[in-house]
Amino acid sequence: MSPLATALLTILGMALATYVSRAAGLLLMRRMTPGPRTERFMRAIPGAILASIIAPSALTAGPAEIIATTATALAAWRYRNLPLAMLVGVAVVFGLRQFMG
């Protein structure tokens, strides 16, 4: 097989693996009726994923990031405007990194 064909087939395999991960959650939920425990589990998942995504970059990257995360959360809570909250976070972290290295 030519190198390009191998590369494209590999990419196709990666695409399939990714799509399976995207479709699997719905496939599983189509087959089951959640009981109360599963329902509590599923209800907690969205918040838990969001908290997990931000945890390392928000809490362990340094003081600039901790302060910027707090500022972002306050802006989001006060104004309920996503682009604005994003700008606040980026501006605060950019400003603080100038001083804190």
Partner: protein, 250 residues
């Protein structure tokens, strides 16, 4: 939610207007994604991938983290199996994300639901989830096309920026120099606040955060998201808090 079988709940609307609303809501975030698309295109060229290869990956795989990790593994003798296996593992978090949107997705035709899921990324998932939570609080009927609209916004920007990075950009400053790396943390923070967690959500959130931090310290890659999500979910499942203190309005 126990009674929410697809037929009992009825179908959700799936309109062009809903898709456009998702697209528009996602554009600011997609611009942040594009910064990383340029970086991916540039790194792909440096790693020896042709434009066809780099672009096919963005068009077909369409998953930023796993594409950047794949570049790391890419070599002359392609490690085909580990590339595919690593991609699957990096993307396992999507399983929980898709499940979390299932109350709405189950109320779409399978074609629409599974078509929309092709475009689901961390960003479009989170925006859609926030939108549906907001609809529910206001007693509005959600539009099922929001997810695919938001996803296509990311798709367009990701693919254009891949080409741009591969063809045009000859050098790129570290996005962190301008604080751009923090854009994603900021977006996900704002979306978490937008979910308006209640007191009973505090313990699962704290456990999720702790598990994510611990896992991030111990394992490379994106395992920490899956670990934190599972830990938070299990904490909620094992707690004795009453289910659904918030009435479901649909």
């Amino acid at each position: 939610m126990n009674t929410q079988t697809p037929s009992a709940a009825g179908r959700l609307p799936f309109t062009l207007g809903g898709a456009l609303a998702g697209f528009r809501a996602c554009v600011p975030v997609a611009l942040g994604v594009a910064v990383y698309g340029v970086l991916y295109g540039l790194l792909a060229r440096q790693k020896g991938l042709s434009l066809v290869e780099a672009q096919s990956m963005s068009l077909l795989v369409f998953a930023g983290a796993s594409q950047l990790i794949a570049l790391d593994l890419w070599s002359r003798d392609l490690p085909v199996v580990s590339l595919i296996a690593t991609t699957f593992i990096v993307n396992l978090r999507h399983v929980l994300m898709g499940a979390a949107l299932s109350p709405q997705l189950l109320r779409l035709s399978p074609g629409r639901a599974f078509g929309s899921l092709f475009f689901m990324t961390d960003e479009s998932w989170a925006l859609t989830l926030a939108r549906y939570a907001d609809d529910r609080r206001r007693g509005l009927v959600s539009d099922g096309a929001f997810l695919i609209g938001a996803g296509i916004a990311v798709y367009v920007f990701w693919n254009l920026s891949t080409a741009l990075g591969h063809v045009l950009v000859r050098g790129l400053d570290d996005p962190a120099r301008y604080g751009l790396d923090f854009a994603f943390t900021a977006v996900f923070t704002a979306l978490l606040v937008g979910l308006r967690p209640r007191r009973s959500d505090a313990l699962p959130l704290i456990v999720a955060t702790g598990a994510a931090l611990l896992t991030a310290r111990l394992c490379p890659g994106k395992w920490y998201i899956l670990a934190g999500a599972l830990a938070g979910g299990l904490t909620a499942a094992l707690s004795h808090a009453p289910v659904a203190s918030e009435p479901e309005i649909r």
